[in-house]
């Protein structure tokens, strides 16, 4: 095991997640998203043993272009550092990265990151009801042809199958593994075991992706509290330290885009280098699983296996609990929850795993976790944010 210490100097290893909370709800028709933000903020602050008056850095997304103003008002916050990074579902992973930088630079002391959404009770068809608007210049060359979100990921899956012979069965194994994990998580939306055959027999949404290749749609919320490692030592929970992070964007370029060139290819190696750790050191990974292909493509791009080997890598039990690289012990977006932008739950679960408080789904002796959030549409414009967290 490599020593868990970030390279000397810089911002790494100086900030810790000290409060983490996942709202238990999966369906909350009588709550607003703001209420879920607020209840999640309370949960994370209680977990940290801090009060709302301690918060001087505020990070959120998914609340509309200037919605952070209304939400700060709802929570009666007067932060001196704010960040409303909006790069899709990975935004909250990015918030954690930026909060670490801001705290290490002395720009704020206690950062609060919040998320809330009522996508399920609003019957918002996240994957198959959007993408049909012309808002920005590239939309004029895409939206007229009907690219759904799932369709965009399906383009990546089809190209991967063509280049590497990846199969629907290999993708299905990822959904099966996530469901097995969800069976150990009492709050997961779907917990009944499924088989590869079940996935392949579920209705086709956008070929080659079936219904069970797609994340669930739920309501939900979550929050994180971060502060300096120094201050964290006096708090209630064992600090989970941010050892490294990096982010990247990918898009259609100038009509030259390689569908298999995923943002994680840039952010992953950089985050690992900043943390001073290697792939073999990672005890578990929290990988944004909007679709099964997202997991496969991300693990390859991060460098856990070579390009083209993701299918075999995911299908042999390696990413299950007890395997060499357990992925998403909570059941992920494929089975536990996905209110539209799931990034915060990746950091919450990583934190709780590194504190050894996950009961039957606990990864034994977990000291180092990799989180990777994907935001936007993998086959079109998307973001990737990698975070390395460690128990010290």
């Amino acid at each position: 095991m490599t020593e868990l210490r970030a390279p000397a100097g810089g911002i790494w290893g100086k900030t810790a997640v000290v409060g983490a909370y996942e709202h238990p709800t999966r369906f909350a028709p009588d709550k607003t998203a703001f209420q879920l933000h607020a209840e999640s903020a309370r949960g994370a602050l209680e977990d940290a043993g801090l009060t709302v008056q301690d918060v001087d850095g505020f990070f959120t997304s998914g609340v509309g272009p200037i919605g952070i103003l209304s939400l700060a008002g709802h929570l009666n916050l007067r932060p001196s550092y704010v960040d409303s990074q909006a790069i899709g579902g990975s935004s909250f992973v990015s918030h954690s990265f930026h909060a670490a930088a801001a705290i290490a630079a002395g720009l704020c002391n206690v950062a609060l990151v919040t998320y809330g959404s009522t996508a399920a009770s609003e019957r918002f068809a996240i994957g198959t009801g959007t993408g049909g608007f012309v808002v920005e210049p590239p939309d004029s060359f895409e939206a007229p042809f009907g690219p759904t979100i799932v369709g965009s990921y399906a383009l990546v899956a089809r190209r991967h199958m063509h280049e590497y012979g990846t199969t629907g069965e290999q993708l299905a194994e990822i959904a099966v593994t996530m469901r097995r994990h969800a069976g150990l998580n009492p709050r997961a939306k779907y917990r009944e075991p499924i088989t590869v055959e079940d996935v392949l027999a579920s209705r086709m949404i956008s070929s080659p992706l079936h219904l069970l290749d797609c994340c669930v749609i739920s309501d939900g919320g979550g929050a994180l509290v971060l502060t300096s490692v120094e201050r964290a030592r006096d708090l209630r929970r064992p600090p989970v330290v941010i050892l490294g992070a990096a982010e990247a964007l990918r898009h259609a370029e100038i009509g030259t885009r390689d569908l298999l060139d995923v943002a994680a290819r840039q952010s992953g190696p950089l985050a690992l280098a900043r943390a001073g750790v290697r792939h073999a050191d990672i005890d578990l990974a929290l990988i944004y699983d909007s679709y099964t292909i997202t997991v496969l493509a991300t693990l390859e791009a991060l460098g856990f296996c070579a390009a083209g080997e993701g299918g075999a890598f995911c299908a042999d039990g390696r990413i299950g609990l007890g395997g060499a690289l357990p992925v998403n012990p909570d059941g992920g977006g494929l089975s536990s929850n996905h209110p539209g932008m799931r990034g915060i739950f990746l950091v919450v679960e990583a934190t709780r795993q590194l504190r050894d408080e996950c009961g039957p789904r606990q990864v034994k002796d977990a000291t180092l976790a990799l989180v990777h959030g994907t935001g936007g549409m993998l086959g079109q414009r998307h973001s990737g944010v990698t975070l390395i967290l460690g128990r010290v």
Binding site: T128, F145, G151, T256
Partner: protein
């Protein structure tokens, strides 16, 4: 607002950057842009070359021949205009000139589409002003081999 005759799908915004593209399509011609200063080809059309930021741009006519780079048969889309046409094929095709564009593959059964399949442009006049470039398997026998 132009008469769209009940056409429900999203329509492009035609502006200074993209007008040449849409006007060519209305004439049933397919063009892409190339920078006059550094020679870099680009799609989608934009005013400045992203490589050298020059605004000296020329329009280059494309043959209309392409191959399917990737595709998906869409079985679920609640958006008006699309939900009436399920299943449809969303694709990225690579023009013979090396530019990749998003489109629909039409003129064949969705199940017949394959990655690497040769296709050629077909112009779909969806409104009086807007023509979309779609792609279909070639009609000419010499392209079949």
């Amino acid at each position: 607002m132009a008469e769209t005759k009940g056409y429900k799908k999203p329509l492009p915004r035609v502006d200074e950057e993209s007008r040449g593209w849409w006007e060519a399509l209305a004439r049933h011609e397919l063009y892409f842009q190339r920078c006059r200063d550094c020679g870099t080809k680009r799609f989608y059309p934009r005013a400045l070359c992203p490589r050298c930021l020059s605004s000296a741009t020329e329009w280059v006519r494309a043959s209309g021949r392409a191959t399917v780079y990737s595709f998906t048969v869409t079985y679920q889309n609640q958006a008006p205009g699309f939900r009436e046409e399920l299943p449809y094929v969303l694709a990225i095709v690579e023009l013979d000139e090396g530019v990749r564009v998003m489109t629909n593959v039409v003129g064949c059964a969705p199940d017949a589409v394959r990655v690497g399949m040769p296709v050629e442009v077909v112009f779909d006049d969806v409104t009086a002003e807007v023509t979309l470039p779609k792609f279909q398997p070639p009609r000419a026998p010499e392209r079949q081999g």
